[in-house]
Amino acid sequence: MPIAQYFKPAFLERPSPDNTVYKHTFNFRKIWKMTVLITAAVALIPLISITTIDYNVTQRALESEILLRAGRVASNTKRSIDFFLAKHKSVLDFLINDNTFEEIKNTQHLTEILNHLKTGFGGFVDIGVINSKGIQTAYIGDYKLEGKDYSNQEWFKKAVEHGVYISDVFLGFRNQPHFVIAVKRVYSIGEDQKSLIKDFYLLRATIDTEHFNELLSGLELSGMGDAFIINHNGIIQTPSRIHGDVLKKIDIPIPEYSEHTEVREYMDSKKNINIVGYAYIPDTNFILMIVKNKAQLMKAWYSTRSVLIIFLALSITIILGVILSMTTYLVNNLYTADKKRAMAMHRIGYDNKMATIGRLAAGVAHEINNPLAVINEKAGLIKDMFIYQHKYDKDEKLINLVDSVISSVQRCGNITHRLLNFARHLEVSIQSVNIRNLIDDVLGFLGKEAEYRSIKVIVDIPDNLPDMVCDRGKMQQIFLNLINNAFAAIESDGTLKIEAREKNSNFCIITVSDTGCGIKAADLELIFEPFYTTKASKGGTGLGLSITYGLVSEAGGYIKVESEVGKGTHFMVTLPYKHNRGKKEEKIANTLS
């Protein structure tokens, strides 16, 4: 048997009462279900709601904080890059404006300028002057680029158009990442500064990206953070720790253009969600990217979340456990109390009914007894006259007729005596009872029915069986119930057998067996339960056997049943010879003494 069976309350075991007359009384399963549902809802809905709200608020606050932090880092770094580029651009601007075209294309002077730049700022690799036709007229650097024609190159056109140009990062002949800043100066040809004939030239410097990279690599970023620059085509410009090599295409989408620093969430090629703070660097092709792994940033929150979920699950389990056990306990108590109450009410009703029947029977018997006594005496007198006056003593027919009247009166008398006896014993308490007489009394009422229905009644009670000291009325009720049940189970031509045997010096066993329809195994466990009936449609109350069970227990005995469908049923009642006083009675007796 599963362990759950031990904890299962009785009311859950009971079959649905829908088909019985007590369908309104014992629907405790519904009460139990409703109580569990309502209590669980009242207890759990606020708990789950508050936890969910708190969970969402905390998660959103954390996410917002992460986004804000990424935005701040991106904004600060953008300013540093702006400053770096502006510084280099300003230097070139100063140089181009401080020197005339003639001065600046002087190789010696240009060499001096490059040396000063290398010493003062660092990062400058070479420098060149390009005239308005796109020809590099002067160049100081590692390569022989003097006279190189740039007129068809895109950067030249952009520099001419915007007055300044900052290139993407490229490897070039050096095979080292670097970028170019070019500034334009427009000047008047001739002596007069206000001359309308104007020309221009460009000062172009190559800058090593090493200094540029230091700006980004120096950032301390949480959550496996990565700071780097891409161009508008998504080509990585400065080294990235995670998202690809320099001059390779980035593995996350290129963020949309915005004048301000923005923060977005993107999924990379490894399906990681990344928090990306980015900023378009003005007047360049650069986009600053601050990329952080969301999962890493939320790691602390995830562990807190696990604790929260475990706590919630534990709370729900404990609350449900308490609700289930308390509800089950209370409803079971309610069920037991209600069952006892209904039993008591029915018992009172039953006892009242029996007492009324008793009074009625006694009244009827008394009323009949008097005229019966007159008939008896008159018939007796006629017979006496025949016998004692010898006038008709030879007329056998007349004597037989009178005898017949007297014997009929005797039969009626037996019935009224039995009725009176039965009624009287409904009120009597403990007395000595002969088992044979007791069974005969009960059978006396049912003899005719047995005869009509061809039920064979066998009574097997040894004469030497000792008398029982018990409440005769209650014993009559026990056997009247059992024998009535047996009669109800037998269709016709069946057999009812009542046997009594001595079990030991203290107990006797009385067996009531029938060859009726039998009881199903499933019903057998429940037949002594109050209000359990299979005869609801025929007016069964489900109390007969439960009352019988109660009466047998009260007398200090016990009752067992064996049955097989289609073959019959045996009720075995074990009763003590001496009445066992109940604990209550004993207590009262002790108190009184």
Binding site: H366, V374, D384, M385, C412, N421
Partner: protein, 119 residues
């Protein structure tokens, strides 16, 4: 053995007296307690067979009245009512108790038993 039968049912008591006389028992009958007491003033009886429920003076009350004057007299209750109450009263009075209709032989047996002083 002289018997006094007291019962408010004239038909019954007269017939019973007659039947007893057939069996050699001298039985006088009265229809009420008062009549019975009147008979007792002039006659002597060994045993009274009393109905319990009678108008005015019931069998139990009558028995007490008679016993005051004739403490040696014996009694049998003969009633159509077999209630617990009657039974208990009979037992309390240590009086033998029979329920109507009764077999006359049983009644005579009981009378003899009572007269012999057997319980």
């Amino acid at each position: 053995m002289r018997i006094l039968l007291v019962d408010d049912e004239a038909d019954y008591v007269s017939t019973l007296a007659e039947r007893l006389s057939f069996r050699g028992i001298d039985a006088q009958w009265a229809l009420s307690g008062r009549q019975a007491l009147k008979y007792l003033e002039t006659e002597k009886y060994d045993l009274a067979v009393l109905d319990i429920k009678m108008p005015k003076i019931g069998g139990i009350e009558l028995k007490k009245e008679i016993q005051k004057k004739y403490p040696n007299m014996k009694f049998i209750y003969l009633t159509g009512h077999g209630s617990e109450d009657d039974y208990q009263k009979g037992v309390a009075d240590s009086v033998h108790y029979l329920i109507k209709p009764v077999n006359i032989d049983d009644l005579i047996k009981m009378m003899k038993k009572v007269m012999e002083g057997k319980d």
